[in-house]
Symmetry: C2
Subunit: 142 residues, 2 copies
DNA sequence: AAGTAAAAAGATAATAATATCTTTTTATAT
DNA sequence: ATATAAAAAGATATTATTATCTTTTTACTT
């Protein structure tokens, strides 16, 4: 469904959303230790997210990765799109050249609604709203 | 969602379900040509399905792969389970060590119902019922 | 202005998934 | 019995994903 890279990205972004701001930044190594994922790999992932303006970073002394309130308005799907791309959510799930609701493959009617639901929710919901869920104790990161 | 191997397997099995029986068998090369997937790769896939008694084969002259009526009663999930395993449909979608409906990760409530629905449908439906859908023109393989 | 801490970039390595090719074994038709 | 056609098994190759390490650039602090 989601690649490891994407799950790492989501976990790191939500961690930063919960714990960082303009004045409290984190370097990739410490994030990696805290959420228990490989550090150099995470660094690349965060760089990509920074390049796409989904999260913020500052170089040099006292620098690090962090989220601004503006960053927190980005959608969850933008994280997945930046890391994995959205191709895997498009096109026929059986790999047929022709497959749509008019000419469905054998699993089209089974997979398409689920996939649309998932992409839809991730498109509608922001990082902020997922963060709120965690803060209120409805979901968790650890 | 499904690996390429699994999609190849599903397409090949449904093709055999539509076109083969005890007296009409297909070798992997001709199946591969017809449904347009890599032949040697398919051979391995079909061998695995045979070993798991999901499809049938006969060696030697006039041999090949085919489906019996009994084979057609296998579930669709058994194909996926044989090729990919079901691990990817279990466990936390974010990779957290603890994640269930009591202690959900941020995307648990989003992904779990969809995943359960997909696995459920593939568990309930047989190869025969998918074949029927194709025969009646409701879905297609090409 | 100089030193430094950290991101950014780039090079390399390991692993897993996908794909191909070759050899061996088997069943059956003749 | 023998030849043969095809599955089965195994060895090899390629590609994509995941992981690690090193160097360079940047900007802040003193």
């Amino acid at each position: 469904m989601l690649s490891k890279s994407s799950t790492y990205a989501i976990r790191a972004v939500l961690f930063l959303s919960l714990n960082s701001d303009d004045e409290k930044k984190f370097n990739p190594k410490s994030i990696a230790e805290i959420i228990d994922i490989p550090a150099p790999f995470l660094a690349k992932t965060l760089q990509e997210l920074t390049k796409r303006n989904i999260i913020s970073s500052r170089k040099g002394r006292n620098g690090g990765f962090y989220l601004t309130d503006a960053d927190r308005l980005n959608t969850m799907i933008s994280i997945v799109a930046a890391i994995d791309g959205l191709e895997k959510f498009q096109g026929c799930s059986l790999g047929l050249p022709v497959c749509d609701s008019e000419n469905p493959c054998p699993i089209h009617h089974l997979v398409a609604p689920l996939r649309n639901k998932l992409v839809g929710e991730l498109t509608n919901k922001t990082i902020a709203s997922f963060t709120k869920e965690i803060k209120e104790g409805h979901t968790h990161l650890f």
